[in-house]
């Protein structure tokens, strides 16, 4: 470049002359600030500094603002003398041959449909709409952008509430038994019937191999049901978002589209939640949370319709500037203000870049060998070229949002999807409150120790009676008799009864083989023994009979007039008494033992949901900053190829944020609530207090240990990394090392 004499001459001429109203004037012949500034910017006179504050897109600034419609020929002063160097700019139409394809802009939540990228607005102060939008010159509704984000967020929330309220309507989904296609949206018909007309009953006496067909059938139904849910939610989402957002995009000029959008948003929000759905199958009013969900769906549907009507008014009356009114500005309805923020943020970034460079040049270098600023700059950059700035924390973001510098200086804004996700997480917190208070209220109303005990006792009595009755009617009764006879025999042999079984009244020993008949198979038949005394003595005298011939022993036991039914009744009574006593002792004594954990669980779950929702925006802000600063690699990320071929994975975000917030909140609430319950329940109260004392002791021990380490070991035995008392430091280190096996290390 230095060898190009013509270029050098042009540089000198550009720097040493200035132009006002087309008249060139000679400036200072010396190289000073003015000539330097003139030389730097002489060929950039068309650049309008006020572009930075114009509510327009960069595309408009570059391709429209500086290119005159009369096919202007722009020349530099040097070029004026050199016709061959004339730089001829293309006409606007030549420069703006951008072709648009239909991209379903009203549902373009990925790109963020509130942005006007690639388009410009036609405000009175913005004189150059691009040619491809020239036909919109008079009626281009830039105000539509005001409500675009709010409309999309409300519509999305309304569709979610509508979908979930429809899903709530499905009763007992796990008991789906028969499937039939009814319409486009409802693919599965759920019944509570315990029998399946489609799949056979499972035979629990057989192994899995014997139930292959039934299991396969049920698997097919499960898959079909899941597909039904998937299709229902997808179709509902497309219907809600597609039809409900008609006309909600930048370039819309058709006034009937917002009206259609309003119509569909109302129809869908009210159609998904009919009055019939507000009642359960028994005709009772359903839970308040579900009712609230229905109300929210309809309310948000009305809000969406209102925004559509605003858009309709903007299309019909394009000259009305809503942002000129105080309420319009208060609602943040400034037209395309965010686009101006982008350019403002860019200016701040470049300012920061230049300021850093200036500070670097003034920084003390590592060496005085460099005699030029250039060398000094290189030296200073090696030493202090990297600086760190604390950014991205919660307070940082709050401060930046309060003074709006997050938009104007940092240039960060948040997509519609992000706002929708935050809204759904906030709705989760709301529903946790509603569900929790409803549950607590129900417990509060229905809690009664006597009532609960009575219900529980009746249930247990029924279970025990059923079991004992079954015992009576089965061979197990023989086992009871056998056990009783065995005990009787043992007691008789031990002489506890005081019986003398050595001889009968006629002097014959009580030998079974002699007194009872013996069949051909070798089994005994003691039916001829009819007296209870003889039967009892036979049992006591022949203890092996119980193992040898259980039936004969049972005959003899029956002959002793031992009432097995009465015995079973006694067992039943005792069993019921013991079980009831055990259950009663485990039942919560006081109401607060149940309600307090519920309160804690609801509070913890709600706080968790709120915390997740409020921390999501700071989190995404930090991620943006890390991506900008290179902490998170983008194109050089090892997973970039994976991201590149799967752009659809971004669709997982909203759902995962919803379910992640819900599940984590509920789990955390349940865990904390269960721990609180263990502290309050009389069955575990003392155990938990003992555990708490252990933990408290470990905590105190940890504090004591830290104090000892700080005030004894570190201060007396060390100076920095050097030991001033080697022996003492070695002993203390060994002691501390061994002490790490004590559980206080968890602190």
């Amino acid at each position: 470049m230095a060898q190009n004499d013509d270029l050098i001459q042009e540089m000198v001429q550009a720097a040493s002359t200035t132009s006002h109203a087309g008249v060139e004037a000679k400036r200072s012949p010396y190289f000073d600030v003015l000539t330097f500034a003139n030389g730097l910017t002489r060929d950039m006179e068309l650049f309008d500094i006020s572009n930075e504050t114009r509510v327009s897109t960069s595309v408009d600034d570059v391709f429209e603002r500086h290119i005159k419609s009369d096919h202007q020929v722009i020349t530099t002063p040097a070029a004026a003398a050199s016709p061959e160097d004339i730089y001829q700019l293309p006409t606007p139409r030549e420069a703006n041959t951008l072709n648009y394809i239909y991209s379903a802009p009203s549902i373009d939540v990925q790109a963020g449909n509130y942005r006007s990228k690639g388009t410009v607005l036609n405000s009175p102060n913005n004189c150059f709409p691009p040619p491809h939008l020239e036909f919109l010159n008079q009626i281009y509704p830039h105000k539509i952008l005001h409500w675009s984000t709010a409309l999309t967020v409300c519509l999305w929330a309304s569709s979610l509430f509508g979908s979930f309220s429809a899903a709530f309507q499905i009763r007992q989904p796990l008991k789906v038994e028969e499937v039939e296609v009814t319409d486009d949206l409802v693919l599965a018909n759920y019944t509570a019937a315990p029998t399946s007309p489609v799949c056979g009953e499972l035979d629990y006496d057989q192994s899995l191999g014997g139930n292959v067909s039934e299991l396969s059938c049920r698997l097919g139904i499960s898959v079909y049901t899941s597909l039904g849910f998937f299709a229902s939610f997808s179709l509902a989402g497309i219907c809600f978002m597609g039809l409900g957002s008609l006309g909600n995009y930048v370039g819309n000029t058709k006034c009937y589209l917002p009206l259609l959008g309003a119509f569909f948003s109302l129809v869908l929000s009210f159609g998904f939640t009919t009055e019939q759905e507000l009642q359960d199958r028994d005709g009772k009013v359903i839970e308040s949370s579900f009712r609230m969900m229905v109300v929210l769906c309809r309310l948000l549907g009305c809000v969406v319709a209102y925004f559509h009507l605003c858009n309709f008014a903007a299309v019909v009356s394009p000259k009305t500037e809503f942002h000129e009114y105080k309420w319009g500005r208060w609602l943040g309805l400034a037209p395309l203000g965010r686009e101006a923020h982008v350019k403002s943020a860019g200016a701040h970034k470049v300012n920061l870049l230049v300021r850093n460079a200036m500070v670097l040049m003034e920084t003390q270098g590592v060496s005085t060998l460099f005699k030029t600023y250039f060398g000094h700059g290189l030296s200073a950059f090696a030493v202090s070229g990297t600086t760190e700035e604390q950014a991205g924390s919660f307070t940082w973001l709050f401060r930046k949002m309060r003074d709006q510098s997050i938009l104007k200086e940092e240039g960060i804004w948040y997509s519609t999807r992000l706002l929708v996700s935050v809204l759904t997480q906030l709705s989760i917190a709301l529903f946790i409150i509603l569900l929790g208070t409803s549950s607590i209220q129900r417990v509060d109303e229905q809690f009664g120790i006597e009532k609960a005990q009575s219900h529980l006792s009746d249930a247990l009595d029924n279970a025990i009676q059923t079991s004992v009755t079954t015992v009576k009617t089965t061979d197990v009764s023989a086992e009871i008799s056998k056990a009783f006879a065995s005990t009787l025999t043992s007691m008789g042999n031990a002489g506890l009864f005081g019986f003398d079984c050595s001889n009968t009244t006629d002097g014959v020993p009580y030998v079974v083989s002699e007194l009872c008949g013996v069949s051909a198979t070798g089994s005994f038949d003691c039916s001829m023994i009819t007296t209870s005394k003889d039967s009892l003595y036979l049992l006591i005298q022949n203890p092996d009979l119980i193992e040898l011939d259980t039936a004969a022993a049972y005959q003899l036991l029956d002959a002793t007039e031992f009432n097995t039914t009465y015995m079973a009744d006694i067992v039943q009574e005792q069993l019921e008494f013991v079980v009831n006593q055990s259950v009663d002792s485990m039942y919560t004594d006081k109401k607060y033992m149940v309600t307090t954990p519920l309160y804690v669980a609801v509070l913890v779950a709600m706080i968790n949901a709120l915390w997740l929702s409020v921390s999501y925006i700071p989190s995404i802000t930090t991620t943006i900053l890390e991506l900008r600063s290179g902490v998170i690699p983008s194109l050089k990320s090892p997973d970039f190829e994976k991201y590149r071929v799967a752009p659809d994975t971004v669709s997982m975000l909203t759902g995962s944020l919803f379910w992640g917030c819900l599940v984590s909140s509920l789990l955390l609430g349940l865990v904390i609530g269960f721990v609180v319950f263990l502290f309050l329940w009389q069955g575990s109260e003392f155990t938990m207090i003992r555990a708490l004392t252990v933990l408290l002791a470990a905590f105190i021990l940890a504090i004591v240990k830290v104090l000892i380490i700080i005030f004894c070991c570190r201060s007396r035995y060390y100076r920095g990394l050097y030991r001033i008392k080697p022996a003492a430091s070695n002993i203390s280190l060994l002691a501390l090392e061994r002490a790490k096996y004590v559980p206080d290390c968890i602190f």
Binding site: A2, Y30, F36, A37, I49, I101, V350, M358, F374
Partner: protein, 102 residues
């Protein structure tokens, strides 16, 4: 090329608009090098500084450039090229040539 906003731009259009204006030509091999990208970024701030040095004022709400930007650069250039930042240096082709060769 097609953006996610539905804008279709041909390679010829990129060459005629972006490369021609910012890269210097619309040849096949024309690229935007790092210095050109930096120059694109700092053009607005240079114009702002030039306006202020020339006695002008900036429009309302425009972010002002860092103070003393151009005098600092001039001082650096004079020091490194001429060895004396305070000396008056005639604006000549030779000086420009020395500056570019530095």
């Amino acid at each position: 090329m097609r953006s996610r906003f539905g804008i279709e731009v041909t390679l010829e259009e990129v060459r005629k608009t972006i490369l021609q204006g910012l890269g210097g030509s619309d040849d096949e091999g024309e690229v935007l090098d790092l210095m050109e990208v930096i120059a694109i970024l700092v053009i607005p701030i240079l114009i702002k500084a030039s306006t202020l040095e020339g006695g002008g004022s900036l429009p309302e709400n425009v972010v002002p450039p860092p103070e003393n930007l151009l005098p600092s650069v001039v001082r650096i250039l004079l020091h490194d090229v001429c060895g004396d930042a305070s000396a008056e240096q005639e604006l000549s082709p030779d000086f420009i040539r020395r500056m570019l060769n530095f």
